[in-house]
Amino acid sequence: MTVLPFLIVAAVAGTASLLVRAHRGWSTTFAVAGLGLMIASAASIGPSAGIRIGGAILAPSDWLRLYAVLGSIVGLLLVAVDGSAVHEPDVPGIVVLGLGAAVLALALPDPGIAVVAATAGGLAGILVAAPVGAAARAAFVGVRELRALAIAGALAIAATAWLARPLGDLSAVPAVFGLAYLAFAIAVAIRFGAIPFHLWAARVADAAPGVALPLLMAWGPAAFAAVALVWIDQSVAPLALPLGNERSLTAAIGAVSVVLGIVAALIQDDLEHVVGYTITADAGFVVLGLAAFDTAVWEPSRTWILVFVVGRSAFAAWAVAIHGGFGSRRLPELAGWARRAPVLGLALVVIAAVAIGWPGLIAWQARTALAHLALPGALAVVVAAAPLASAAIYARILWIGLRARGSAVRNGRGERPGWPSPWPRRPMVGLGRTERLLERSAHAFGGLLDILWTLPAAARLNRMPLASIAVLALAGLAFTVGSGGLGVPEAARAVPLIGELGPVAQPTPSSTPSSTPSGSIGPETTPAITFEPIGPSPSLSPSPSPSG
């Protein structure tokens, strides 16, 4: 099946959810139904089922399918956590629409169109970043986010437009490609809120609902970065131009984001700020991937993107569950949280294990490969080992959770399950065997009705345990992805196969001059593929096109 059903379901469900936003229950119901359908349609996407619509190709791949499946599952669990914990308005619809826009961007082989789609998806997130009826702070944050998205989008559109045609003699001028490359790389850094472009992202982390942070700061920008990766591999890297300064600047932004993001997360007391800065730190490795002009970067980059977005989503969901359960996001007020929420404590341990990693874990390998491909030796070692310091972030949170309970935790919900009403007693009065059998059947039916009628109240009473279970499921999913499960390495190596659609995508047997086998994670080499923009074929490269 093509990616089209997924996009249609996302557009319809997301729009319907926002249209009935005044009725929060219906809005969430439409979004949950849409996410369920999106999981099914994403799972049925065939890696070779491309489709041509309006002169453009929608080209799926194994990686796109995994991104869509994981995004839909994570979105569903995030909505579940949101509904159980805080139930913010508009978030479910925005999650659905944002995922649809991200998948649309990833399915478009032409980076020039893809960046427009990714920018549109980012703009949809402003609806939750600037909630209607909130204070001036929300408008302040929203308009700054709008400005950042517009600048990033304009940079990316201009960069892709500049190089998407025959350049003639201009192709011998490195400055042209350097400028275009730098513009797109900075656009990606802005979208991620990488340091030093992090101010708007920090304000968004402060104002936006916690459950929307993964979409605003990870899933959407990750799609944008994946488009950038394709574009660099297609239009810039094959020429082997001396772009040392531009690459160094990009790598510096990535390395600084990794290190300072961890430091910033360590000193924050607000859980959503901690989540935001850990996203910034992890996004630094994605930016590092843009600085390595090597086909070997293809696989670790796309592996890390999946590990990063799922892992940070789990952490954001954990923070939302804590906020919903104890009514506070500030760590000093959350003393003893782990004593009342042991399932959330377990989830945090799993999230921390994936975030820190260890040699041999697929996430660790991907991170190390990215650092070594983009940075010189000693610096690469430092940056690759920097996430070890994030152990202090999680240890601090856990240590606070194991202290004596504070007032917020004492007055909070806790994870102990309960039932809203006492179980009714139904004494047996029948004497005969048949009589007792019929009576037992009637009692069983009555008991079933009792349970069904009490379920809504029971769900409200057990919001915290339900949220904790959803967070634990997310943490488990993050661990699975981080350890290479669900076919992540294979999907990261895969390329779109849309040969039946004609000359748009042509697998080529040889790789770019600078290519090396992507053996840093797996033994298989990365196959090469050519994406050509719609329209006249560009004559940028004297050599075969890069892997796409």
Binding site: T119, I157, A205, L260
Partner: protein
């Protein structure tokens, strides 16, 4: 030069000048409408009818959303330079864009599109950098994205139907985003309330050119106490739109939020 395309580009640039320099929000919205309608037409050949219809529909929806977000507001801070200076800057940008068509190589689209794109970038710069209210900043963001699309139209082959559709989605998305932000700002007290909470917390500075009369921000207190017709009322909301309630005593200055930067 294609005279028809040049005329469309000139109209588009004029709309942008109106959008960035007007203080009446209705004029600003009208300028945005002209920009969004005109920019897809600076192409050679013109888009097919279906694409044009899609872009027009998206534009009307986006502008309608913006108008809903700004309903009841009458003035923005406008341009401190005045429209003649903005028009001159835009003309200079257009000349540079036209003269540098292709940016070093042969452009596959019309030079007029690149000229319009450069002019819009010049016009968007000031609102983006120095904008002190929601409308100014949002107009700058919208013009910047339209400018990038126009430059793409000037450099690359004509966009396909799919690209036109994605551009239409972007138009709707930015219109909705502006509407949401404007609504949030109005709920918080006015379009210029975004200054509260910003780094620096500087007091808004009155425009240098075409200083509005002191009662420009103050709507009449009652429908029955309208000012006499001969009294200059530079900004008047339409009758069918509800007027803003008179502002009470000026609120205390907003507290500066905690600095998020590490």
């Amino acid at each position: 030069m294609n005279p028809a395309l040049a005329a469309v580009a000139a109209v588009t640039i004029s709309g942008a000048v109106l959008a960035v320099s007007a203080r009446d929000v209705r004029a600003t919205v009208l300028g945005l409408l002209v920009v969004l309608l005109g920019s897809p037409l600076i192409a050679d050949p013109w888009p097919d009818p279906v694409s044009i219809l899609a872009r027009i529909a998206a534009t009307l929806l986006a502008v309608r959303l913006i108008a809903i977000g700004l309903r009841g507001e009458v003035v923005t801070s406008g341009s401190r330079l005045g429209w003649p200076a903005e028009a001159l800057f835009a003309s200079a940008g257009a000349v540079i864009g036209f003269g540098s068509h292709g940016l070093g190589a042969a452009g596959l689209g019309p030079a007029e599109a690149q000229a319009a794109g450069f002019a819009l970038i010049v016009l968007a710069a000031a609102p983006l950098v120095t904008g002190r209210d929601v409308v100014r900043l949002a107009v700058g963001a919208l013009l910047l994205l339209v400018a990038a699309s126009a430059i793409r139209a000037g450099l690359d082959p004509p966009p396909s139907q799919a690209e036109q559709l994605v551009d239409a989605i972007l138009t709707i998305a930015i219109g909705g985003a502006i509407a949401v932000i404007a609504t949030a700002a109005r709920a918080a007290g006015g379009l210029d309330t975004i200054n509260a909470g910003g780094p620096g917390d500087r007091a808004p500075r009155l425009p240098d050119a075409h200083r509005p009369p002191p009662d420009a921000h103050r709507p009449p207190p009652d429908e029955h106490h309208r000012p006499p017709p001969d009294r200059p009322t530079p900004v008047a909301a339409p009758n069918r739109t509800p007027r803003r309630a008179p502002k009470g005593p000026s609120p205390a200055p907003a507290k500066r939020p905690p600095e998020d930067a590490p």
